[in-house]
C-alpha cells in the first residue's frame, strides 16, 4: 500500500467534493433560517445603510451640478441595480480565493434578502416594526434650497393616495402613509429623502416652532404684503368660507410712514374691521381687539403639497406637479438592453 501524503488527501476528488458540497450546505442552512437571523446585526445594518446610500459621495449621486441647480427639487427613483452593485462591491472586499467567491456567490441571494428586510429598519419612527417583505421600489427627492438651510428639521410626509384636504392632518400610523427610509441633510442646503414605495402625494412642511404671527409678502414686490382675513367667530379663513363673502379676503398691510419695516397696526386693524365678514364687531367690543388682531395675524406652518394639481383643495393655490414628472418615457426592458451594450 502506497503511503498517502497530505497532498493526496487534499487533491482527492472526494475532498474536493466535500468542499463544494460545503458551499451548498452553507447556502441551504442560511436559506432555512428566517430572514433577519442570517447576518450578524452589525454587518446587516451597515449594508442596509449603504443600500440607502449612506457614505456615498455626493458626486456619485448627482454627477453634475446642472442636474440639481440652486432652488430646485428633483424627484427620482432609486436604481436597485446600482445599489446592488454597490453592495456587491462592499461584499467583494473579503474575497481572496476562487472558493471565497464561489461561497459568496452561493450566499448572495440570502444576503440580498436580508438587506431588503433590514433597509426598512434603518429609520424606525414611533413603534413602527415592519415585517420582512419583498423589497419595494424606492423613490425620493433631492431638495436644494435655502429652505433647507434656513429651516432645520423640515417635516416630510408622503402618501400613496390622495388623503383629502391639502391642509388636513394624518396620524403617524395612517395606512396610506409611505414610510420614509432616509431623511438627511447631505449639505447645509441639500436634503435627501428616500421613500419606501412611490408616493402620489408629498408634503413638505415648515417646522412647527410654536405659534407665530406675521404677514405674507408678495413675491417679487418689495413692501407689498397681505394677511389672509379670518372670521373671528369660527376662525375660518374668508377664502374658505362658502359662499365667498363680498369684499376682500386678504388685507393689504400698511406701514408706518418713514419707518423701517414697522407695521401700522392701527390702520391694519381698521382695514380688518372694514371687512364685515370678519365679524370683529360681533365678538367682544366693536372694532378690532387684541385677541382678534392676533387671530388675523396668525401664521401657520406652511405646507407645500406635491401631487396631482386637479386634486388640490386650496382654490387658486399653485400646486406643483408630482405626477407629471413620474411618467416613464423609456421602458426598462429597453434600458436593460442599453445597459447590456446592445444596439437598438
Amino acid at each position: 500500500m502506497a503511503p498517502v501524503t497530505r497532498n493526496t488527501y487534499l487533491n482527492n476528488p472526494l475532498m474536493l467534493r466535500a468542499t463544494s458540497e460545503a458551499v451548498t450546505l452553507d447556502r441551504d442552512s442560511n436559506a432555512n433560517k428566517p430572514v433577519g437571523d442570517r447576518l450578524p446585526g452589525k454587518v446587516k445594518t451597515w449594508l442596509a445603510r449603504l443600500r440607502l446610500l449612506e457614505g456615498v459621495p455626493f458626486a456619485h449621486l448627482v454627477p453634475d451640478a446642472e442636474l440639481l441647480p440652486l432652488e430646485s427639487i428633483r424627484f427620482f427613483y432609486l436604481d436597485r441595480e446600482w445599489t446592488d452593485a454597490l453592495v456587491q462591491g462592499a461584499l467583494s472586499v473579503s474575497t481572496v480565493t476562487t472558493l471565497d467567491r464561489q461561497h459568496l456567490q452561493a450566499l448572495h441571494l440570502q444576503i440580498r434578502e436580508e438587506i431588503d428586510a433590514e433597509e426598512r429598519r434603518v429609520r424606525l419612527v414611533g413603534g413602527d416594526d415592519p415585517a420582512p417583505a419583498a423589497a419595494e421600489t424606492i423613490s425620493g427627492f433631492l431638495l436644494r434650497s435655502r429652505a433647507v438651510s434656513g429651516w432645520p428639521a423640515l417635516h416630510v410626509r408622503a402618501y400613496d393616495r390622495e388623503i383629502g384636504r391639502d391642509d388636513a392632518d394624518a396620524p403617524q400610523a395612517y395606512p396610506p402613509r409611505v414610510r420614509v427610509l432616509r431623511l438627511e441633510r447631505l449639505a447645509p442646503a441639500v436634503l435627501l429623502c428616500l421613500f419606501d414605495g412611490v408616493p402620489r402625494l408629498v408634503h413638505i412642511e415648515e417646522p412647527r416652532q410654536g405659534i407665530q404671527f406675521g404677514i405674507d409678502f408678495t413675491p417679487g414686490e418689495i413692501g407689498v404684503a397681505t394677511i389672509p382675513l379670518r372670521d373671528v367667530l369660527t376662525a375660518t379663513r374668508l377664502d374658505d368660507v362658502e359662499p365667498p363673502p363680498a369684499g376682500i379676503t386678504a388685507a393689504r398691510v400698511p406701514f408706518r410712514r418713514n419707518a423701517p419695516g414697522v407695521i401700522h397696526v392701527r390702520e391694519l386693524a381698521n382695514r380688518i374691521a372694514n371687512q364685515q365678514a370678519t365679524n370683529v364687531d360681533a365678538f367682544e367690543a366693536a372694532g378690532v381687539q387684541s385677541a382678534e388682531f392676533a387671530m388675523q395675524m396668525l401664521q401657520f406652518p406652511y405646507r407645500q403639497v406635491f401631487g396631482d394639481p386637479a386634486q388640490s383643495t386650496r382654490p387658486g393655490a399653485r400646486t406643483l406637479t408630482y405626477d407629471d414628472v413620474f411618467h416613464p418615457t423609456v421602458s426598462m426592458a429597453q434600458l436593460r438592453r442599453w445597459e447590456a451594450g446592445e444596439r437598438e
Binding site: 503511503p3 488527501y9 460545503a22 450546505l25 447576518l39 454587518v43 456615498v56 456619485h60 449621486l61 448627482v62 453634475d64 446642472e66 442636474l67 440639481l68 432652488e71 430646485s72 428633483r74 424627484f75 427620482f76 427613483y77 436604481d79 436597485r80 446600482w82 452593485a85 456587491q88 462591491g89 462592499a90 467583494s92 473579503s94 467567491r101 450566499l107 448572495h108 434650497s145 435655502r146 429652505a147 429651516w151 416652532q209 405659534i211 404671527f213 409678502f217 404684503a225 406701514f255 408706518r256 423701517p260 419695516g261 414697522v262 387684541s290 385677541a291 392676533a294 395675524m297 406652511y302 407645500q304 406643483l320 406637479t321 416613464p328 423609456v330 426598462m332 436593460r336 447590456a340 451594450g341
Partner: protein
C-alpha cells in the same frame, strides 16, 4: 374651571386685567349703626400689591420668537415673547392718569421693541435710578436694585415704538391645553400672555428685542402715526438713521475696515469720522458700554453722537434677546419658486426677453444628459487617453427593475471590470462599475464590518465543510486513504456530537429539572398525619381522629412525591458493586455447581426433571 380647550387648539383673549395694579392700597373699613348712641370706629389696613418692575423673574419667559441668538429668515414674522403669568402686562399702569377712579385702565405697561444695530444703547446691570429717563420718578417699591435699560433717541421712539393706540392691540392672552406640549411648553396653568412687536425684521440685520417698561413714560409714545403712502419705502433702509453725518461716518469706517455690511461697520468701530460733542451738558449719561460685539450697542459711539440734540429716553428692559434675520424670502416663497423636475431635467438658460440684458454666456456647455438619466463625463482611460464616458448615479428618472436569480443563483460581480458596459454610441458606460468600486472603497473604510462579515462567512463555511467531510469519511477509508484516519477519532467524535445535538438535543431525553425532590423522611413521610399529631401531642389517636373529622373513615396516607435522579454516578457505581455482590456470588455458585455437576456427569440423571428436560423430551417426541 371646566375644560375649555382641546389639545391642539387654543383660545385667544384680549386681556386679563387684574382688579388691582401694583401699588399701595388702603382698605378702609367703616361701620355705621342706626341705633341711638352707638359709636363705631374705622379701621385702615394697608396692603401692597407688588409685581416685577425692572426685572422679569427668569421663569416668567416661556418662549421667544425668534429664539435667542438664532439666525433665520424671520422677515415676515413679528417677533414675540410669551409670558407665563397672564396678568403680567396689565399689573402696572403705564400712566396713573389712565386709571379713572382707581379702576385699572387695561392699557399694557409692557411693549416689545425690536431695535437694529445703532438704534439704541444697551445698558447692562445699572442702578435702577439710571434705568429710566432722568426726571422720571417711579413711586413705590422696586423689585431689584440693578436692572438693564436702553437709551434711545426720540426719533427711534417716533419711528419704531408702538403708538399709544397700538399698545393694546399688541398684547393678548392665550389659553391652551396643558397636555399639549407643543403649545403649553411647560406652563403651569395653561394661560399665557403674549406681547407682539410691530416691526418686521429685515434681512442681513442683527436685532435686539427688548421687553420694555413704559411705566411713567407713556406720554413719550406717539398718539398716532402716519401711514406710509408708498409701502416699498418702508423697506428701503432697514435702519432708523440715514442722516448725512451718520452716513459719512459709516462710509469712512467701511473704507478703513474689511467689514461688508452696515452692521459690521458698527461693531468694528475703529475710526470716528466725526466730531464728538462735549458731554458736559448731560453728566447723567453713563459712558458707552461695550457689550462685547452684541447687537444694538455701538462701540465707541453713543446714541447722543448719532443724532446730536435729539432728546434721549431711557427705558427699563425686563427681558431682551438677540437674533439675526438672514435671507429675505420666506418658506412659502422659496417653496413656490422651486424648480421641480425629475433628476434628468436640465434647466435651459432663460430665453432672452426684449428690452432686457441678455444672460451672460455660459462658461461651460450644458451637460449631455439622456432621458435614461445617463450623463456624459470626461474621463481618462487606462491608456492615459482623454475620453468621455457615460455615467448614471443611483438616482434615476425612471423606475427600473432588478437583477433576479437565474436558476436559483443571483449573479454576483467579483470585480468592477465585470460591470463595464459599452453604450450604443460606442462610449463606455461606467455606472455600475463605479457603484461597485465605491462600495468596495466604503467597505475598506470599515474594517470591523469586513471582519465581522468574514468571520460569519468563515464560521458558516467551516461548519458546513465539517459536515460534508464526515459524510465522505467512509468512502475515503474505502479508497484506502488511511493516513487521514489519524484524524478519524476526532471526526467521529464531532460527528457523534453533531448527531446528538441535532434538533435541540432531543436524543438526550428530558432535561433534568433544576431542583430534585427531597428523599422521604422516616417518621414524617408515609405516616398518617393524624397519628403524627396524636403522638406529638400525647393524645389518644381515636380522639384526634374524632376531633378532626368525626365519623369519617380515614383514607390512605399522606405522601410526599419524591424522585431521585442519579446525582452521583461514581458513587452509585460503587454502591451497585456492593449491593449486587451477593447476587454475583449466588450466580457464581450456581454456575460452579452446574459445571461441577455436568463434569461429574450428574446433570440429568438423578436430578429432578426441570423445564429444560421437559423441552428436550418434547423435542424428542
Amino acid at each position: 374651571m371646566a375644560q375649555r380647550v382641546a389639545p391642539g387648539q387654543f383660545v385667544l383673549h384680549s386681556s386679563a386685567v387684574p382688579d388691582l395694579t401694583a401699588g399701595t392700597y388702603v382698605v378702609h373699613a367703616d361701620q355705621s349703626f342706626t341705633a341711638p348712641d352707638a359709636t363705631s370706629s374705622t379701621l385702615d389696613s394697608y396692603i401692597e400689591v407688588t409685581g416685577p418692575r425692572y426685572k422679569l423673574p427668569p421663569d416668567q419667559v416661556l418662549s421667544t420668537f425668534p429664539p435667542n441668538k438664532s439666525q433665520g429668515s424671520f422677515s415676515s414674522r413679528l417677533p414675540q415673547i410669551v409670558l407665563k403669568r397672564r396678568t403680567l402686562p396689565w399689573e402696572r399702569e403705564a400712566d396713573p392718569a389712565l386709571a379713572v377712579g382707581g379702576v385699572p385702565s387695561g392699557v399694557p405697561w409692557l411693549a416689545l421693541v425690536v431695535l437694529a444695530d445703532g438704534e439704541c444703547e444697551f445698558l447692562n446691570a445699572k442702578p435702577i435710578a439710571q434705568c429710566v429717563t432722568p426726571g422720571v420718578v417711579l413711586a413705590g417699591r422696586n423689585d431689584t436694585p440693578v436692572g438693564d435699560a436702553i437709551v434711545v433717541t426720540e426719533t427711534v421712539v417716533r419711528k419704531v415704538f408702538p403708538t399709544k393706540e397700538e399698545l393694546r392691540l399688541l398684547v393678548h392672552v392665550r389659553e391652551v391645553d396643558l397636555t399639549d406640549t407643543d403649545l403649553a411648553m411647560g406652563d403651569d396653568d395653561g394661560w399665557l400672555a403674549v406681547v407682539l412687536s410691530n416691526r418686521l425684521p429685515q434681512q442681513n440685520v442683527r436685532y435686539r428685542a427688548c421687553l420694555i417698561s413704559l411705566e411713567g413714560q407713556y406720554n413719550v409714545l406717539l398718539d398716532q402715526a402716519e401711514v406710509e403712502p408708498n409701502p416699498p419705502a418702508a423697506f428701503e433702509n432697514p435702519f432708523v438713521y440715514d442722516n448725512p453725518l451718520f452716513g459719512i461716518g459709516l462710509r469712512e469706517i467701511k473704507e478703513n475696515t474689511r467689514s461688508t455690511t452696515v452692521a459690521d461697520g458698527w461693531s468694528v468701530g475703529v475710526t470716528r469720522g466725526y466730531d464728538t460733542r462735549a458731554r458736559n451738558d448731560r453728566p447723567w449719561l453713563p459712558p458707552p458700554v461695550d457689550s462685547g460685539g452684541g447687537t444694538g450697542a455701538i462701540h465707541d459711539v453713543d446714541v447722543d453722537d448719532i443724532d446730536p440734540g435729539d432728546p434721549l429716553y431711557t427705558f427699563p428692559v425686563l427681558a431682551n434677546w438677540q437674533f439675526t434675520c438672514t435671507d429675505g424670502a420666506d418658506f412659502q416663497q422659496l417653496m413656490l419658486q422651486l424648480d421641480v423636475g425629475m433628476l434628468d431635467t436640465v434647466r435651459l438658460p432663460p430665453a432672452g426677453r426684449v428690452g432686457r440684458k441678455p444672460a451672460p454666456p455660459r462658461t461651460r456647455p450644458l451637460p449631455e444628459v439622456t432621458e435614461t438619466g445617463h450623463i456624459s463625463l470626461s474621463h481618462v482611460n487606462r491608456a492615459g487617453e482623454a475620453d468621455s464616458v457615460w455615467y448614471r448615479g443611483p438616482l434615476v428618472p425612471h423606475p427600473g427593475g432588478r437583477q433576479e436569480p437565474l436558476f436559483g443563483v443571483l449573479p454576483l460581480l467579483h470585480s468592477s471590470d465585470q460591470a463595464r458596459r459599452i453604450g450604443p454610441d460606442g462610449r463606455e458606460n461606467l455606472s455600475f462599475a463605479a457603484a461597485f468600486e465605491i462600495g468596495r472603497l466604503l467597505a475598506l473604510g470599515e474594517p470591523s464590518v469586513v471582519a465581522a462579515f468574514l468571520n460569519w462567512r468563515k464560521e458558516g463555511f467551516e461548519q458546513a465543510r465539517r459536515t460534508a467531510l464526515v459524510g465522505t469519511d467512509g468512502q475515503l477509508s474505502l479508497e484506502e486513504v488511511r493516513d487521514i484516519m489519524s484524524g478519524f477519532a476526532a471526526r467521529i467524535t464531532s460527528r457523534i456530537l453533531f448527531e446528538l445535538g441535532r434538533d435541540g438535543g432531543i436524543r438526550f431525553g428530558d432535561i433534568r429539572p433544576p431542583v430534585d425532590g427531597g428523599c422521604p423522611i422516616d417518621g414524617l413521610d408515609n405516616v398518617d398525619p393524624v397519628e403524627l399529631i396524636a403522638i406529638g401531642f400525647g393524645l389518644p389517636i381515636d380522639t384526634v381522629r374524632e376531633l378532626i373529622a368525626p365519623g369519617v373513615d380515614r383514607p390512605g396516607l399522606g405522601e410526599t412525591p419524591a424522585t431521585r435522579g442519579p446525582s452521583d454516578l461514581v458513587n452509585l457505581a460503587g454502591r451497585t458493586d456492593v449491593e449486587f455482590g451477593h447476587l454475583r456470588n449466588t450466580a457464581l455458585d450456581t454456575v460452579t455447581t452446574l459445571a461441577t455437576n455436568a463434569l461429574g456427569g450428574s446433570a440429568v440423571p438423578g436430578g429432578a426433571p426441570d423445564a429444560l428436560d421437559e423441552l428436550l423430551s418434547e423435542g424428542h417426541r
